[in-house]
């Protein structure tokens, strides 16, 4: 499903149907997921179609949030001054892009997940986050690749007390998404105090995977800070 395609393509997988068809320059883009349909006309000769996972904060409406909050269904308790890695799942949003040598144009984003938002922090100073619930896995879990991706989270407790983690907040602008058969991210959570931590992402390309198109880079938005500070705790 994820990958690069020529401009005439037909993909059918589960309840997803995606196609670009037509003769010469005049083509038609059609996508259907569940009951939602999108149809567009493309006038193009060159270029290719890229279908890949994108930062999961765009749907149902862009601009509402730029953060993803993954809530753990069971808390993770970590002892002082230790490091550990766990795997979580995150929701998938799939982007469809037209790409040539110079430019990247996003033509569609869709998801099979049911979006939900949550407030992290108090109403007067908190932030709106896209919400997702995940179990905690010690090994790479099986995922429905069109529905969820895998997030490896390296947790480092730099504090001198035990800390219980119930949620992790990740900033979309920092995300580095990779894909092969499934979507993958590698993030870290460094616990600085009982209710203070910072999340970052690793940019190293995992073996055998491809780098997803970064919507924020495509928009020309610069990355000034690379860490998100979780100042309202982990519970």
């Amino acid at each position: 499903m994820f990958g690069e395609y020529k401009l005439n393509v037909k993909i059918e997988e589960e309840d997803l149907k995606l196609l670009v068809e037509g003769r010469g320059k005049r083509k038609r883009y059609y996508r259907k997921v569940g009951e939602e349909e999108v149809e567009k006309f493309i006038h193009a000769d060159k270029g290719k179609l890229v279908v890949c996972p994108v930062e999961p904060v765009n749907l149902p409406k862009e601009g509402v949030s730029e953060y993803l909050l993954v809530e753990l269904d069971k808390p993770l308790i970590i002892e002082p001054k230790t490091e550990s890695s766990v795997y979580l799942k995150f929701p998938i949003e799939i982007g469809v892009f037209l790409v040539d040598e110079i430019d990247v144009e996003r033509i569609d984003i869709f998801t099979k997940t049911m979006p939900k938002y949550i407030l992290y922090g108090p109403p007067e100073s908190g932030i709106i986050c896209k919400w997702w619930n995940s179990s905690v896995y010690n090994e790479i879990p099986e995922v429905d690749k069109l529905y969820e991706g895998i997030l490896r989270l390296d947790v480092k407790n730099a504090y001198e007390e035990w800390v219980e983690i119930k949620k992790v907040v990740l900033r979309a602008i920092d995300m580095k998404i990779f894909y092969d058969g499934y979507a993958y991210m590698h993030a870290s959570l460094k616990i600085l105090k009982k209710s203070l931590g910072e999340t970052t992402f690793f940019d190293r390309l995992p073996r055998g995977m491809k780098r997803a198109i970064d919507i924020y880079l495509a928009k020309g938005i610069k990355r000034l800070e690379k860490k998100f500070v979780m100042e309202w705790g982990f519970k």
């Binding site: 149902p60 409406k61 601009g63 509402v64 939900k116 949550i118 407030l119 109403p123 100073s125």
Partner: protein, 276 residues
């Protein structure tokens, strides 16, 4: 050739008033033009340097301060060429200051209020606000006034002094906000079931926040109905669309479960006829 120079010299030396000749006037004009050019270049550079580093409203203020500051300095430097000496101005300034002070106190007041608004930042460009009796989206915060596009699309200019002294409601200053419905059901309906129906409906809506969670409870035993309160938190940027969407959906969902919203009703007891 000499005749031409002589003619030009005589034109330049031509006295217009109080020892000010054409050459002085040209110098004055040249200084003003150069000043405006320098001010524009400085403004553009200030924007380029600060664009990524400061908020838009602060950037606008800095631009204006730089631009008008340079214009003011240039104007003061050029004034002696048209017969206004700065020392004379300082002497005359005492009286003129009082006169101008009285005349421009509103302008100064607006200016100072504008500065305080930029420092305090109760509103930003693009915010949905209510200032006094005007509600709408802030389009610009200038040195003397703030412009609002009202909810029905009308341009309103409010002097900054009024903005500063009015009660300001900023609808998007906080990330989330709460709104409330009052829903009456019949006395014979099961209120707990109604609460479950509404709760399930709210859980399915993406913009109704998971936390703070919605609150649904029996608020009042009214004259004609059992009144439920439904309190919902939503992101401030989309709360109004959620509010307009959900009330009808709640009504439909309740009716689907056989729970109805009653009309106002009154039980009238008819006394029996008295036997005489």
């Amino acid at each position: 050739m000499n005749d031409i120079f002589e003619t030009i010299k005589s034109i330049l030396d031509y006295k217009i008033y109080n020892g000010v000749n054409v050459a002085d006037l040209l110098r004055f004009t040249a200084i003003i033009i150069v000043t405006v050019i320098i001010a524009k270049v400085a403004k553009i550079n200030a924007r380029r340097i600060l664009k990524e580093k400061v908020p838009k409203t602060t950037l606008n203020a800095v631009e204006k301060v730089v631009y008008y500051g340079i214009i003011f300095i240039g104007f003061m430097a050029a004034l002696p060429y048209i017969g206004f000496s700065l020392s004379g101005l300082l002497v005359a300034g005492g009286i003129a200051g009082i006169v101008i002070g009285f005349a421009s106190q509103t302008v100064v007041s607006n200016f100072i209020s504008g500065l305080f608004l930029l420092i305090e930042k109760p509103i930003k460009i693009g915010d949905g606000v209510s200032i006094g009796d005007v509600g709408g989206v802030v389009k610009d915060i200038r040195i003397l006034s703030t412009t609002i596009r009202t909810w029905d699309g009308i341009y309103v200019r409010i002097p900054n002094e009024k903005v500063f002294t009015s009660n300001i409601k900023n609808f998007v200053a906080h990330a989330a906000r709460r709104f409330e419905y009052k829903i009456g059901i019949r006395y014979k309906d099961d209120a707990e079931k109604a609460i479950e129906v509404i709760k399930k409906l709210l859980e399915e809506h993406p913009f109704i926040l998971k936390e703070p969670a919605p609150q649904i409870f029996v608020e009042e035993l009214g004259d004609s109905s059992v009144n439920l309160a439904v309190r919902i938190w939503a992101p401030s940027t989309v709360w109004f669309s959620v509010k307009t969407e959900m009330l009808w959906k709640i009504k439909v969902a309740l009716e689907k479960e056989g729970i109805q919203i009653p009309f106002p009703q009154r039980v009238i007891w008819m006394a029996g006829k008295t036997e005489g």
